[in-house]
Symmetry: C2
């Protein structure tokens, strides 16, 4: 039963489990108390902080434990923005940050602040120069992930950090996806991470704030973790998080090589064996264990269910798998296809044989889903008689609008257009992406009575 969704949550690392059990017995008391159970808890907390700080590359008194990666991001952004409020209320971030960063930016805007989203290229990376240009005199904080959680692309953190330093703007690096693999390049002022992404337990995040960074914790005052994380310390989980981070790091170099080779195999074989597929993300500057691809004419939810039936657990950024029925903001910012999207993220220890089996199973599953949806099976595009066509896909969900477009493109003359009427949010992303994959011209989108009209010109 191969679990290929380590980027969502990793199974508990054996070292984490062992440390958690020991700390349940030794570390349940209040570390602020003076009696022996409290002193014992305080020793465990101090040791965990030292171990985590060493892995992060900061001083122990610069690091606090939060209740999750999300709360670390919320607290870090709010505290840094408030600390530099006199400088201004502008926030810079990339367009492909984790939702916790985007939600913090939205809350900041709702409270009267402003933010700039730096766009990314088709691989999902920001251009350092473009990021630098987004820094203004009133920029209080810049945020950049170390690597993207959906497509694995590494961001140019060192280059952006240098530009931030030049501009005198503190940089918060969300290292949730990468901290288990190694430290973040120097130059950050704030760093956040999440233990359950590296095989630690749920319930632990890290927030490091470099000495000298202006920081003013928000929300009701707290008595714990230097006032930067509210509530009783979750000590057994903290101990387990720190112990497993160290253990994972010890094995990281060897495992990175192995998983990188497995992911390279997936990238190559998927592109070879699955027709009409787009493998996304940077093929080189990327997380070792993560790969994402999108399959034309495929419904992501059905694809996930079929893979699950065959015992493969993967996730997807397709709109049909999201509760809001909108495609992933990451794929959107990259301008790549979102339909039939699959993210494979391999936990450490993944067997090569399981990856092989996945690659054997996948092409058949995709073909099956396409057949069920009546998708065009690599139909060669031939010259057709019609001048222009309108396809009504109103009320129909991804991937149907794209399938209908693909079915009729051969029926219009070269130079003529097909107009797709659609009200599914994913069409806005997937019709241009289809054009790019198919070498057709995406003319543009026009408002319609219901939904939008997407105009495509046949080029060949």
């Amino acid at each position: 039963m191969p679990y290929f969704d380590a980027a969502s949550a990793a199974p508990l690392h054996p070292v984490a489990r062992q440390a958690l059990l020991a700390a349940l017995d030794e570390g349940w008391a209040d570390p602020a108390r003076l009696y022996r159970e409290g002193r014992r808890a305080r020793l465990l907390l101090d040791a965990a902080r030292e171990a985590a700080a060493e892995a992060v590359g900061c001083r122990p008194d610069e690091l606090v434990f939060t209740s999750s990666g999300t709360t670390a991001v919320h607290a870090g952004i709010a505290g840094a923005l408030s600390g530099r409020r006199r400088v201004g209320r502008h926030l810079a971030l990339s367009a492909v940050e984790h939702s916790s960063v985007l939600h913090s930016a939205a809350a900041h805007e709702a409270a009267g602040g402003s933010f700039t989203e730096v766009p990314v290229d088709r691989f999902g990376a920001v251009d350092p120069a473009a990021y630098g240009a987004a820094l203004r005199a009133d920029t209080a904080l810049a945020c950049l992930q170390s690597a993207n959680h959906e497509v694995g692309t590494e961001q140019p953190v060192a280059e952006v950090a240098a530009l931030c330093a030049e501009a005198g703007v503190p940089l918060l690096v969300d290292a949730a996806q990468s901290l288990g693999w190694g430290p973040v390049p120097a130059g950050w002022s704030l760093l956040t991470a999440s233990a359950h992404k590296w095989g630690g337990p749920a319930g632990v995040g890290l927030l490091a704030v470099r000495k000298g960074t202006r920081f003013s914790p928000q929300g009701p005052a707290g008595e714990r973790e230097s006032g930067r994380a509210a509530g009783f310390e979750n000590l057994p989980a903290i101990v387990a998080a720190a112990a497993s981070l160290r253990a994972v790091r010890d094995g990281a170099a060897a495992e990175e090589l192995r998983l990188r080779a497995l992911v390279d195999r997936i990238r190559t074989v998927v592109a070879e064996r699955v027709p009409d597929v787009e493998v996304v993300g940077d093929p080189v500057r990327r997380l070792p264990h993560l790969v994402t691809f999108s399959c034309l004419y495929v419904d992501g939810e059905t694809l996930l269910h079929e893979l699950d039936r065959r015992e493969f657990s993967v996730s997807s950024g397709s709109s049909c798998t999201s509760s809001t029925l909108t495609p992933s903001h990451v794929l959107k910012a990259m301008g790549v296809l979102s339909e039939g999207n699959v993210r494979v993220s391999l936990p450490p220890g993944t067997a090569g044989a399981d990856v092989d089996r996945f690659l054997e199973v996948l092409p058949g599953v995709v073909a099956e889903v396409r057949e069920r949806l009546g998708a065009p099976v690599s139909a060669p595009v031939s010259p057709g008689p019609a001048a222009s066509l309108v396809v009504d896909a109103l009320g129909r969900r991804c991937p149907i609008p794209v399938i209908e477009l693909a079915k009729v493109i051969g029926e219009v003359a070269v130079g003529a257009t097909v107009t797709v009427l659609a009200d599914d949010e994913a069409a806005r992303l997937d019709i241009p992406a289809w054009c790019e994959m198919r070498g057709q011209e995406y003319v543009g989108e026009e408002p319609a009575d219901r939904g939008s009209a997407y105009v495509v010109r046949r080029l060949g």
Copy 2:
């Protein structure tokens, strides 16, 4: 090694441990995912929510899991205040709430709101009529703990709830100390609790919001727990929390009787065997397992250390045991002695023999600490010659100012005064409390060049 500080944190209940271990294996995945590991996690989360809701006495969809009792309080107060912002920005609370409530009130005031602290009587309870009088047309929310965490006194929740209902004001009940013992009386609109207080793991709080209560979550938007608690669900801990709440409740009735008898014994024997002691809190309307007393002429920190050396773990509300060097706000609001303060809170299963041993050891330890501090040993107050005296205790910490006062009161004539100059914050509370215990008249406090001058008139 008897641990008598269950009100801070209880050792993990065996059922919690068992459930945690099982859920580490079965519940590490993301419950929002569609694959089998995710669905299994979702089932566990739903079952835990149902069990916790049943124990709380609400619907499962009214209850969310937070990362601690403190975050439950912060989120509950902020959300309820914002939800009724149109009504007004006034908050009512008792003067003896947990610091998480007080800090929320302070943050609310800093953001332009206002609050009223309802005073308590010498037992630590609010008067329902006084609470009702604090409710105004612009009161958005009222907060009242079910029972006090430092002295154990139960609050008149049902009576206050009725007055709140009459006034149309939602009532948030902080049930952190009592939920393991039984449900909160009906009438609340919001309820908060903390799992590690009932033997569940750290890292889990409960926030229940009754349907129909206006509630607007604050902070960055969240995708989990109905948007009311940010971050990845700490599922193994949540499962353990729910399982242990049920287990603790099953044994609560029998254990309540047993611990209540043990606490009654402590209340009686401490008053008998320790001279110059004040046992505080309501002797009847109280938590079954908690008792607090204060010893005149004793330094709380030294007392705790001496008890710890004899293997008893207790806590204290004395100023010398607090990082801010101020006495407990609870003892202050009650107007009782804070020096030499000891809180004993018995975990379920506490052996009667351990309590007996504590009662044997305590009088000797108190006497020893007093002797070391040069405290007056039940010196009979005799008529003295001096008209009035001034005692300079500036720069000296609790309990020295009170000891110096006690030493000289016999040296002034009946009707004459002793003025104590002191700059320790605890003196403001402890000198009046000493007067009450000793039958002397506390005349009042006057500002001085340094600290304050506390004037006491000898009555006998």
